[in-house]
């Protein structure tokens, strides 16, 4: 079985993230990047499948040079190989264009049975790319999966959305997983050493046959018109409980007309 895990290199959520002033795109240079935490669950789920049987796990990312780190981390965790789609023309691409490029990469890999993703990126966080990919590739799509199993060429999943659903689909499929599905492994020393020898391909838009004019900021189908830093919340009154803390909470709530 051939499994693609889509991984994204994002600005660390623990740092002070921001935007490029000139074009309102995410600032990916001023803040340290990491593998999007939610993608680690997708990598782990792919590795669990390859641990238990025949599966070739390929980590795929799209992004500037630094995005290679997301591939490296996936390889250290245990993925067999990586693909880095990088092209200056991709800067500022929207979700629609991103899905177009990733679909082209998956098609170029060929005979992919399963595409695993996290439930959202921790930067843009739109959660729409997996469904867009399924739409483009004609794959089944199961999102927000908390438990995944395989039998007879079918995936069976427990989906934790507004209700809990048990879903079946025949392969090929795109499955996005939640942070409830597993506990991602840390790369071992052996894994870190082995990763250095694993193959990583670098593909440009030309390699994928995608028109550079159809992606990037100028071709985006939505535009950010303004970005405003939210004013820091100003701290209100803080009291120390001296046996009447609960009454004070109630008084505050009554004053704000919540009671």
């Amino acid at each position: 079985m051939k499994i693609v895990v889509l991984v994204k290199h994002v600005p660390d959520a623990a740092a002070d993230r921001g935007f490029n002033e000139s074009d309102h795109t995410t600032d990916r240079a001023g803040v340290d990047g990491i593998l999007s935490e939610l993608d680690e669950y997708a990598v782990e789920e792919a590795l669990k499948l390859s641990d238990s049987g025949e599966a070739d796990v390929i980590a795929v990312t799209m992004g500037p040079d630094g995005a290679l780190d997301a591939i490296k981390r996936s390889l250290q965790m245990g993925a067999a190989s990586g693909v880095h789609v990088v092209d200056d023309a991709l800067h500022g691409s929207d979700a629609v264009a991103t899905s177009k490029v990733l679909a082209a990469a998956i098609s170029k890999l060929g005979d992919v049975n399963l595409v695993l993703t996290g439930m959202a990126s921790t930067d843009g966080g739109m959660s729409v790319v997996p469904a867009m990919l399924a739409e483009r590739l004609g794959f089944a799509h199961i999102g927000f999966v908390g438990e995944l199993g395989f039998a007879d060429g079918k995936v069976s999943a427990r989906r934790d959305a507004d209700v809990t659903e048990t879903v079946e689909a025949s392969l090929p499929a795109v499955v996005s997983v939640t942070d409830q599905i597993n506990e991602p492994r840390y790369p071992s020393f052996k894994g870190i050493m082995a990763a250095k020898k694993k193959p990583v391909e670098t593909w440009s838009l030309a390699d994928l046959g995608v028109d550079a004019g159809s992606v990037g900021l100028s071709a985006a189908w939505s535009v950010v018109e303004a970005v405003t830093a939210r004013p820091e919340r100003t701290q209100g009154e803080i009291v120390t409980d001296e046996g009447d803390g609960g009454v004070k909470v109630a008084e505050y709530l009554a004053g704000q007309k919540f009671i």
């Binding site: 089944a140 927000f144 507004d162 803390g245 909470v249």
Partner: protein, 315 residues
């Protein structure tokens, strides 16, 4: 005036509050036209009329329930192709986002997710990077597909007599690839839905697993119960109640955080709450910096006393 399609979010015809919010927003922009997919339209009709749907596209079929939402996207795209609306509004939840994503590809249109407001000129407002920034955006290609977060506006009734247009449903085999074999609704708690609630009381590590005081205060205030990731990971409360980046994002009028330190992961899910009240033993907990009112103290005693006092005041 161009139609604004509003996808009705419902359970067997019981229309969810978010749909009435979308209809309220749609009225600012153009002519609200509701799209009802699934079963139980009879039960939905009155609510859609009360909140101003000028038209309702009714595609009734029990088949929708047999699959995930690919068939919804397919029929919605078919309706949009004929209606030529200037926008399609969908609730921001997992199903809504899948529908929006598929629709963007099908209609070759731009998509914006998680809007907390939509202007009459279709400019959207979103809160990003854990609430650190406000972004204004606009779709520039095709039909504006926008997913809107719960509680974006207060629903305002505007009685109409909608024109109903029946839509014949044919679902392609391609849309039937993800089959639902079982569906379990969440156990009813009698409390409001977390993302829709006007008041949310959340507990974290400081509860030590004892959510009784959190639930009691939520009930006294008519609110929903939330939990931090630490509490969920400890198995103290179900994941469906998790507030934060990997759980639900809430934006209630009042958010009470009890025994929650305020990691970025949690703040991402509640930073846009209107009023924040914090109860925590640790005076150094970062969440105090966000508090409109805070008590440094043991949540077990403070919450119990607050609940008693509220009950007393309510008489």
């Amino acid at each position: 005036m161009a139609e604004i399609l509003v996808l009705v979010d419902h359970v067997d015809g019981a229309v969810r509050k978010t749909t009435t919010e979308l209809l309220t927003i749609a009225r600012r922009i153009g002519e609200p036209a509701a799209v009802f997919l699934g079963s139980g339209y009879e039960a939905a009709r009155d609510t859609l009329a009360r909140f101003g749907a000028v038209k309702v596209y009714v595609a009734e079929s029990p088949e929708f329930d047999d699959y995930l939402v690919a068939p919804h996207a397919e029929v919605l795209a078919q309706i949009a192709s004929t209606a030529q609306p200037s926008a399609v509004l969908v609730t921001s939840n997992p199903d809504g986002k899948e529908i929006a994503g598929r629709l963007a590809v099908k209609l070759e249109s731009g998509v914006i997710t998680d809007a907390v407001d939509v202007d009459s000129d279709l400019t959207t407002t979103q809160s990003v990077f854990a609430g650190g920034y406000t972004v204004n955006a606009r779709v520039t290609q095709g039909t504006a597909i926008i997913t809107v977060k719960p509680n974006a506006v207060t629903p305002e009734p505007a009685e109409t007599t909608p024109v109903e247009e029946k839509v014949a449903v044919t679902i392609s085999d391609a849309a039937k690839r993800a089959k639902v074999v079982a569906r379990t609704a969440r156990a009813a708690t009698g409390r409001p839905e977390l993302t829709e609630a006007a008041i949310v009381v959340s507990g974290g590590r400081g509860t030590g697993g004892e959510f009784g005081p959190v639930e009691a205060l939520a009930d006294a205030l008519g609110g929903a119960v939330g939990a931090s990731r630490a509490a969920v990971d400890s198995g103290w409360y179900p994941h469906s109640h998790q507030v934060g980046q990997t759980g639900k994002t809430v934006s209630p009028q009042l958010y009470i955080a009890a025994g929650i330190s305020g990691a970025i992961q949690h703040r991402a899910g509640m930073q846009t709450s209107k009023t924040i009240v914090v109860v925590n033993k640790d005076a150094e907990a970062p969440i105090f910096s966000m508090a409109d009112f805070g008590v440094v103290g043991d949540l077990h005693t403070v919450l119990r006393q607050a609940t008693e006092e509220i009950e007393k005041r309510k008489g």
